[in-house]
């Protein structure tokens, strides 16, 4: 899987024309990559194309309320920011974009169907893995492209729906963050020091998928033994029984894919019950997604988190201006620090928008859904998080980040330090290969 050029590349260090070429050469692609200073004097490649005047209608479903909104609202801000940047830069091949946002909670199919009924040109979301799995056959039946912001269960495109046309996913799938967590644990403790591990994961497709992949990975790399695995319900109000089990077993590593309000609860109850005195390390794939929900005392301890495809501090914002600009823009617009789930929304819109503009410049007219779907396959594009590709399997790929949870006084929010960047090819199988087979072949 191609991940070059890497996200860490210093923008000022690249030849201007090379970067413009890499991002697709259009004003839109450059704007969404966050490199607007490169735009000066460039011509819009698709300006003469035969495209309709009316705005593009799009719909996003995301969690806007309850515990999952910790992630969902970030995704909404991300999608809105991308749409704002698109419109400020003259739209997609001249077409402005409208975005309607609706709460996804439990109504995935209904939301998608309503968007299609309303004549949306494209739909984005959901965050929920099970909701995404529920939607895929409907998306294929309705033939209106959906780019899922998250919904990251690994088996979705590998086994359940290996041959789809209109359904895409922007975010890195579970295997990438689960294996990033394995690698991070090995790096911090050393393979020889990890004899036992345990897990606390949400009781649905995503949590079970992540635990399964982490188990396979860590057992393969270290030969460690699983001593406990608990699955609290999503949105639970109590994890103390699971934490008590962990305290009893004292595993070397605890793995968790808890997210949203569950991630905060795990840290709160973990601290209250001295879990961090009874384990060497907690590796959580998406703990950092709840950064805006965390207090300073919660991030104290041997706690490491992944940040999927985006962490604004890596590479450092003084070297990678698109990420720095984005943090400033989002903090002034919304008063939050953007997390990887911000990038879920931003990236899903960007994937579609840059592919649409590419399709217009190829065809000289606005593409049909099927044509746009073809262009989206193997499409590469930049965001402030770096370079992403949409695989032939409709799965998004980009670098994964993992670092120690700490507190940033500068941003008055949780942050990551000593961040490791894992290239996609190191933490996920190539398209067409099953993750568990690939891990088995190590």
């Amino acid at each position: 899987m191609t991940t070059e050029p890497l996200a860490g590349t210093e923008s000022s260090g690249i030849d201007r024309r090379t970067l413009l070429k890499t991002v697709g050469g259009s004003a839109l692609a450059v704007a969404l990559a966050g490199c607007t200073e490169l735009l000066e004097g460039e011509q819009e490649s698709a300006a003469d194309a035969d495209v309709p005047d009316e705005p593009i209608e799009s719909g996003l479903q995301t969690f806007t309320e309850g515990a999952p909104s910790v992630l969902g609202i970030q995704a909404e801000y991300g999608a809105e920011t991308a749409v704002r940047r698109i419109n400020e830069n003259g739209g997609i091949a001249g077409r402005e974009m409208d975005l309607d946002v609706v709460e996804e909670g439990g109504a995935y199919l209904t939301n998608y169907q309503q968007f299609v009924d309303e004549g949306k040109d494209v739909t984005f979301g959901p965050i929920s893995s099970s909701g995404h799995a529920e939607m895929v056959p409907e998306i294929e039946a309705q033939e209106v492209i959906n780019v899922s912001t998250d919904g990251t269960v690994t088996t979705l495109y590998e086994e359940d729906f290996p041959d789809v046309t209109y359904s895409f996913r922007f975010q890195n799938h579970d295997v990438m963050e689960a294996l990033a967590a394995v690698n991070q644990a090995v790096e911090v403790l050393g393979a020889d020091s990890i004899d036992t591990y345990a897990g606390i994961n949400p009781n649905y497709a995503f949590g079970q998928d992540e635990m399964n992949l982490f188990s396979q990975g860590i057992e393969k790399l270290t030969g460690a033994e699983q001593v406990y695995s608990g699955f609290p319900d999503l949105g639970t109000s109590d994890m103390s029984t699971h934490i008590t089990e962990i305290n009893g077993e004292e595993p070397d590593v605890v793995f968790s894919s808890c997210w949203g309000g569950d991630a905060t609860l795990l840290l709160e109850q973990g601290h209250a019950n001295d879990m961090f005195d009874n384990t060497e390390l907690l590796v959580g794939t998406v703990l950092y997604g709840s950064a805006n929900d965390m207090e300073e005392d919660l991030v104290d301890g041997p706690i490491y988190s992944g940040s999927r495809n985006f962490y604004w501090g890596e590479p450092s914002t003084d070297r990678w201006s698109p990420a720095a600009d984005l943090v400033d823009e989002v903090q002034s617009e919304y008063g939050v620090v953007p997390t990887a789930h911000f990038m879920s929304g931003y990236g899903a819109v960007t994937a579609w928008a840059t592919a649409a503009e590419k399709a217009v410049s190829l065809l000289g007219r606005w593409p049909e859904q099927e044509e746009l779907a073809m262009v989206l396959e193997n499409h590469g594009f930049f965001t402030p998080a770096g370079y992403h590709t949409m695989g032939s399997d409709h799965q998004g790929y980009s670098n994964a980040h993992f670092g120690e949870l700490t507190w940033s006084d500068e941003h008055d929010a949780a942050a990551l330090q000593d961040v490791n960047v894992f290239a996609a090819k190191n933490v996920s199988p190539p398209p067409g290969e099953i993750s568990s087979d690939w891990i088995g072949s190590w």
Partner: protein, 380 residues
């Protein structure tokens, strides 16, 4: 009078079947309702109304018609009717996803059989209980089923099951593997047929000696027992019939939705919604629960697309129904109709209405001022 028109109490009635006679206004309403049902797909094509939301509403309404047999006639409030709806839906989903059954009708049959079995079992345990004990027991059984499905890998936990035998396409209907639009249309018209047959069966049932016995049980169990009605057995049978309606609706819901999850079908809130549908539409009527089903589902599903604070909407609707339309939407039509015709005859009444509204507002403000005075000063 002809074969289809009969005279009853000096008024002409339209006779649809033996014993089924409607007044002229009822017949017009029924005809309008029937035509409206038939043209729903066309209406939704040319308006922003959602076809699937209306279809889904009809199915929940069908479950509410079943619940209404208990509510209206035996006066028993069930808080656990989602159990039958959910079992009907899950049975269809299990047959499709675990046993690759591809015939939609077989899936529906499976759903009805499973719901019947469960309602026989639950009915056996709850038939002799009354009031809050009956309500809580039904709720408890509902929650047991919900928790069981939620914790079971066989039912795929909270993620639920697809009702797609080949993984991607919907089941076959009447031996036909239809396109997405064709499938929706055929299923809709099949639902309409099922709904009409179910309503006729329910009408026949409640107007039979068995239905009268249920009325007697609802009014006074002890007296019903004294006149020789085997109360528990009759309640049990009514419970099972009610469960069959729930299973039928749930099975059709699975065929429509093509995915079944515990929260959407088995959760106790769904039971509450089915109960609310019966009350909203008018539980004193046969068709009211269907109207309530369509209205409530529409509010729940479509409101988020139009209103930011959509969660408050169902609460406000419930308040409005309880305060202003206690007989429900359909049940209040005669009252509203009479009121309107009186006002047409005597427009002076409108002035009185305004005066009534004005004086009740004045009274409200005065009460509020008094309350504030008491809170602030301790005395009036």
């Amino acid at each position: 009078m002809s074969r289809f028109l009969v005279d009853r109490d000096g008024e002409t009635h339209v006779r649809l079947a033996e014993g089924m006679e409607l007044t002229k206004s009822q017949a017009v309403l029924a005809a309008v309702g029937f035509v409206a049902l038939l043209i729903v797909p066309d209406i939704t094509r040319f308006t922003p109304l959602s076809f699937t939301a209306i279809h889904r509403g009809i199915l929940f309404g069908l479950a509410a018609v079943g619940l209404n047999l208990l509510l209206r006639h035996t006066e028993l409030v069930s808080f656990g009717h989602a159990a039958f709806f959910g079992v009907g839906a899950y049975a269809a989903a299990v047959l499709a996803s675990q046993f690759d059954v591809s015939s939609g009708l077989l899936l529906l049959l499976g759903g009805v059989l499973a719901a019947t079995t469960i309602s026989v079992l639950i009915g056996y345990f709850v038939a002799s209980y009354l009031d809050i004990y009956f309500a809580l027991l039904t709720l408890a059984f509902n929650q047991v089923l919900y928790a069981f499905v939620l914790q079971s890998g066989y039912f795929n936990y909270s993620d639920g099951l697809n009702v797609r035998p080949d993984g991607l396409n919907p089941p076959a209907l009447f031996g036909l593997q239809l396109s997405s639009t064709g499938y929706e249309l055929v299923l809709y018209y099949f639902t309409v047929v099922v709904l009409i047959v179910s309503l006729l069966v329910m009408w026949k049932l409640v107007n039979s000696p068995f239905g009268r016995a249920l009325d007697a049980i609802g009014q006074n169990r002890t007296r019903a027992r004294f006149v020789g009605i085997p109360v528990e057995k009759y309640v049990w049978v009514a419970f099972v019939i009610s469960g069959i309606y729930g299973g039928l609706a749930g099975g059709l819901f699975a065929l429509l939705q093509l995915h079944v999850s515990p929260e959407a079908t088995l959760y106790a809130f769904v039971s509450g919604e089915i109960l609310f549908m019966a009350i909203l539409g008018g539980f004193g009527t046969l068709v009211g629960p269907v109207i309530g089903g369509v209205v409530l589902v529409y509010l729940l599903v479509q409101a988020p697309f139009y209103i930011e604070y959509y969660n408050a909407l169902t609460g406000l609707t419930l308040l409005a129904v309880v305060l202003f339309l206690p007989e429900g939407i359909l049940g209040s039509i005669p009252k509203i109709g009479t009121g309107l015709s009186r006002r047409r005859r005597d427009p002076g009444l409108l002035r009185e209405d305004l005066a009534t509204i004005g004086s009740s507002l004045r009274r409200g403000v005065s009460r509020a001022v008094t309350t504030v005075r008491i809170i602030v000063f301790g005395v009036n």
